[in-house]
């Protein structure tokens, strides 16, 4: 049926309007034949598909406690937007919130850069009360999603599915599942506590699945004391695969989702989206194997697996069957830390459960980390050259692959035979998907052109929560210039202890995985510790494109870079380019505040820190109740140096006052004498983190007094019992035991060489 002249003129008007001349002439973007696979225009009637989205504040109650969240058109997750390839999408977004600004990023879509939705980089934020219209052609098909790119809004409801159907697609029953997480803790507080290295989330997880805290008592119980000591000797804190404790995992906004209309014997397509902020999900199915047919929206040659892991922001299309009638089969999504899961029941009838994933064997994981971590903080892959998820070191923690707990830990079981030690598929009959198994049905080779090769090393520091590329955050580096006609090749190496889902805006990249010309196209790459992966893309899209880790809290800490492919005209929606740049880069420059005070019978003992990624302003105080005990306050300001940030040179001020001790001078270890009755000095010195996580503090003050101090806080004796120790060359020492009650409160008792014994309550902000 030929396109009628009316519709053609509407289409033309639509194409010319609303895009202020920024829209490129050709519809084939990125030069990838894999996109636009629906076939010739032929008998297809293009149209404008319009959605109106209204963003509001709302109160939700997932756990029975009312909490603030964001809803769009009254729903969480945001409504599923459905299009057909070739349509023009017209999304009218109104921010109906009272005060907050917001934004929406269309993840995975190829579109003009000023509609990409990254506030202050490509798009203006949608201020409270404002409406913005996003109008662009859909040049691709597949499973995508959309989410806020402002602050931490993505965590609290602003995520939703975006599906683009192929033209003339053969009808097949399908179900869309967007996975997400819920925490009752405000995301801002989650973020702050991550920066304060507060392990309350590990204690919460421990209640659900014992073992996450990996305290000394846990280690002794499992015969892994040597492992724990080695781990702290190498200056590592207890490792977890995920930082945050979630109260619930959700599928389509519910802990249990249903697709009862699917019938037995049917083959159905499930479009899975990881819309979580920080969780990876294992996907397993009670009705047998799953056939993976698309990744990040782009078709791959079908590959049958028993399970696969979804990184944050990845999407996968799978085809499964409903084997028997009157039976619903569980599609199970389990978080990588195995603390929580969400289920989708496919079919209707008696419910066939999938086997749950057993808890992680944490000390096996710790032992593996000990082997991989060098004393200087670098990771050593022991010649294994890991890539493409083929070797999963965490496999030592998976009981379903390496057997139950006691069986596998034998200290030094002799030589391993290289790669197979961590290769899931070699170790068991369970087939786990990895990137080397993905193959594009069509060739994806880039058009000929000069290659700009970049090497990025992902770096991270759990103790200070500094996540970066080459130890530089996005605000500490310049934008990277790329030009049309160039091909950009990025060699990514992950030298951090966590896996990261790296996402590139505006383009698909080839994942160079041994499939030659048929390398798959993706827009999110999960890269595991010590892996090196190569991705490449043609720089066809003009504009500013963000490349970042999609773990929300890592992105906020600056783990990313910006590629600039210069556009002929300035960005029409960001007229003040310098102001925009300043606002875009301010997130990872944020300062975080943390304070703690022990309200005890022998005085108030506490500290407060105002820190950002490199600098720290810290105050410590010991305030006695009597003039005999006296008061002492100390403040210092300094900068963290080095990749591991173990060095902390600083300068500060020291005040002290005390009465009733007469003229007895005390002698310190350096032979210097001081009555310690009154002090008001400046000091300069440094701190250094030693093995066993002891902090060595050395300083000299304006009275010429030297002081050396060793201190360790938060030694995890048991999951809830913590020990703080301090001793210094002034012959002062302090020991404190704290029992953690909840995120802010702990019961404590301590002995201070100047103030004696006391019991009290420690409050932590």
């Amino acid at each position: 049926m030929p396109v009628s002249s009316n519709i053609r003129s509407v289409l033309l008007l639509v194409l010319l309007h609303g895009l202020t001349g920024m829209m490129p002439a050709q519809t084939q973007h990125g030069g990838h034949p894999a996109l636009g696979t629906s076939g010739p225009l032929g008998d297809f009637t293009p149209r404008v598909t319009r959605y109106d989205l209204v963003i509001t504040d709302t109160i939700v109650s997932y756990t029975g406690k009312p909490r603030k969240a964001y809803a769009v058109n009254g729903s969480i997750p945001m409504p599923t937007l459905t299009f057909t390839e070739g349509d023009t999408a017209m999304i009218v977004v109104r921010n109906a919130m009272a005060k907050e600004e917001t934004s929406l990023h269309w993840h995975g879509l190829i579109l003009p850069y000023h509609l990409d939705g990254v506030p202050h980089l490509t798009t203006a934020p949608i201020k409270a009360g404002e409406t913005q219209v996003y109008k662009f052609p859909l040049v691709q098909s597949g499973t995508y999603w959309y989410h806020s790119h402002t602050g931490l809004q993505e965590q609290n409801g602003m995520h939703g599915a975006l599906i683009v159907h192929k033209r003339n697609a053969a009808p097949m029953p399908e179900h869309v599942v967007i996975l997400s997480e819920w925490t009752d803790m405000k995301p801002k507080e989650v973020h702050r506590r991550l920066h304060a290295a507060n392990d309350w989330s590990a204690i919460r997880k421990h209640k659900v699945r014992p073992g996450s805290v990996q305290s000394y008592s846990d280690a002794i119980k499992e015969g892994a004391l040597g492992v724990k000591l080695t781990n702290e000797w190498k200056r590592m804190n207890a490792m977890d695969v995920s930082d945050v404790y979630y109260d619930l995992l959700l599928a389509n906004g519910r802990p249990v989702d249903e697709a009862p209309d699917l019938k037995a014997g049917e083959r159905v397509r499930i479009r899975l989206i990881n819309g979580g902020a920080s969780s990876y999900f294992w996907i397993t199915y009670a009705g047998g194997k799953m056939t993976v047919v698309a990744s990040d929206g782009i078709d791959v040659e079908p590959v049958e697996v028993d399970r696969f892991i979804m990184g944050v922001a990845e999407t996968y299309d799978i085809i499964v069957t409903i084997p028997a009638d009157s039976t619903a089969y569980e599609l199970l999504a389990t978080s990588e830390d195995r603390v929580r899961s969400a289920s989708v029941w496919l079919g209707s009838g008696i419910r066939q459960l999938a086997a749950p994933l057993q808890p992680l064997k944490y000390f096996e994981g710790m032992e593996m980390m000990n082997d991989m971590m060098k004393m200087n903080g670098d990771l050593d892959d022991m010649g294994m050259h890991m890539s493409l998820q083929q070797m999963d070191m965490n496999v030592v923690m998976y009981p379903e692959i390496t057997g139950p707990k006691d069986a596998t830990r034998t200290e030094g079981a002799g030589d391993d035979h290289g790669g197979d030690r961590y290769n899931s598929n070699a170790l068991s009959d369970i087939v786990t998907l990895n990137y080397a198994m993905l193959r594009s049905p069509t060739p994806t080779t880039l058009p000929p052109g000069p290659v700009k090769e970049l090497k990025f090393t992902l770096t991270g520091n759990m103790n200070r929560y500094l996540w970066a590329i080459d130890n530089r955050t996005v605000s500490e580096t310049d934008r990277i210039l790329i030009r049309k006609g160039e091909n950009v090749r990025i060699i990514l190496t992950n030298n951090s202890m966590m896996r990261h889902p790296m996402h590139l805006h505006g383009h698909f990249f080839r994942v160079v995985n041994g499939q030659g010309e048929h390398a798959p196209l993706k827009n999110v790459l999960d890269i595991m510790p010590m892996e090196t992966d190569t991705i490449e893309f043609a720089a066809t899209e003009e504009g500013d494109w963000f490349f970042h880790c999609h773990i929300l809290y890592h992105m906020m800490s600056g783990m990313g870079r910006v590629f600039v492919n210069p556009a002929p005209r300035p960005n029409p929606v960001l007229p003040d380019a310098r102001k925009a740049e300043r606002l875009f880069l301010r997130e990872d420059k944020a300062w975080h505040f943390m304070a703690q005070n022990d309200f005890a019978t022998n005085g108030n003992d506490g500290e407060a820190m105002l820190m950002n990624k490199r600098w720290n302003l810290q105050a410590e105080w010991r305030l006695g109740y009597t003039p005999m005990h006296g008061q002492e306050v100390e403040m210092h300001f300094g900068r963290f140096l080095g990749k591991m940030q173990w060095w902390f040179p600083n300068i500060g001020i020291d005040w002290r006052t005390r009465e009733g001790h007469g003229d007895d001078a005390e002698e310190n270890l350096f032979g210097q004498r001081n009555t310690k009755n009154s002090r008001s000095v400046l000091h300069a010195g440094f701190q250094y983190t030693l093995p066993m996580l002891l902090v060595f503090d050395a300083r000299i003050d304006t009275d010429g007094q030297l002081r050396a101090q060793l201190m360790r806080e938060d030694i995890p004796l048991t999951p809830r019992l913590r020990l703080d120790l301090m001793g210094n060359s002034d012959l002062e020492h302090m020991e404190r035991l704290r029992y953690v009650l909840d995120k802010s409160w702990a019961l404590s008792t301590h002995y201070d060489s100047d103030m004696g014994w006391g019991v009290g309550v420690t409050v932590t902000y």
């Binding site: 459960l353 749950p356 002799g414």
Partner: protein, 284 residues
């Protein structure tokens, strides 16, 4: 005073006294299970202090579930029971949980419906540890009396490959039963002669493995099974090949038999899964 005290004590001792659960709601639901000893497992899986308790009747195959309806629901209880391995009206146990049940507890899965296509990807009943295994046979050797011994050996070997001491113990017990259940009269003459020679050591070795404390002890004794089993397989070779594998590292060198060509080491498990090589292929 004394009578009141006695009365209270008696009331508290009455079975099924739900004085503890508030907002109590009781339902009777069908829960599958075969053996009286399953009762403890079912009731323990279902029990949550202050929320749910269950009384399961093995003859009627029903569970009387009492819950605090404000804190939980019947589905949550039935889901826990199913996760422990017991099918019920609302939930089917995961296959792995069912097969992990001790052989005697593996009831017939009447709640489970067969898949629609001929190519059954989900078995209705898993035979791996079913205690009628001796009668099933392997299907290749027609009524071969030694088949259960072979199958039992491979099951034990697989359990050690998976580093699963509990499964290995069960497999050793099964193999022991299979050895003692062989009908010598049905064997060919040559096989009979070999059987007479190896039967004793097979019986005693499998008993030792079954009583061994821990995975390493099991592995050490498992090694001693290889020689008599190899003699047996060579005397009555099967149409599907059996591989004699050798691992040079374990205790100065150790052999085992396998149906798979791929090396999966039962002495080291995942620590050194692929250590070893095929020494010999035994085939008719």
């Amino acid at each position: 005073m004394k009578t009141i005290g006695l009365l209270i004590a008696t009331l508290l001792l009455l079975p099924g006294c739900n004085a503890q659960l508030k907002n109590a709601r009781t339902v009777t639901v069908r829960v599958d299970g075969d053996w009286p000893m399953c009762e403890k497992t079912i009731e323990k899986a279902a029990y949550v202090k202050g929320e749910a308790e269950v009384d399961w009747d093995v003859d009627a195959k029903t569970a009387r579930i009492t819950i605090d309806s404000m804190r939980t629901d019947i589905d949550a209880v039935l889901q826990r029971i199913a996760h422990a391995g017991y099918d019920n009206e609302r939930f089917l146990a995961p296959d792995a949980a069912y097969t992990a049940l001790p052989g005697c507890c593996q009831y017939e899965r009447t709640f489970k419906r067969a898949p629609q296509n001929a190519q059954a990807t989900v078995p209705v009943q898993d035979d791996a540890h079913h205690h009628h295994i001796a009668e099933e046979g392997t299907g290749q050797e027609v009524a071969d009396p030694l088949a259960p011994v072979l199958t039992g050996y491979f099951a034990l070997k697989d359990a050690l490959v998976a580093s699963d001491a509990t499964k290995a113990k069960d497999a050793a017990i099964q193999l022991n039963e299979a050895v003692r259940g062989v009908d010598m009269g049905a064997l060919d003459h040559e096989v009979h002669m070999v059987w007479m020679e190896v039967m004793g050591s097979l019986t005693s070795t499998t008993t030792t493995i079954a009583n061994a404390k821990g995975l390493e002890a099991q592995r050490k004794v498992f090694r001693e099974l290889t020689a008599p089993m190899t003699r047996l397989v060579k005397a009555s070779p099967t149409s599907t090949p059996v591989y004699l594998d050798h691992c040079p590292m374990y205790e100065g060198g150790a052999d085992w038999l396998s149906r798979d060509k791929a090396i999966k080491n039962p002495f080291y498990g995942s620590q050194m899964m692929t250590c070893g090589s095929v020494k010999e292929t035994i085939i008719r």
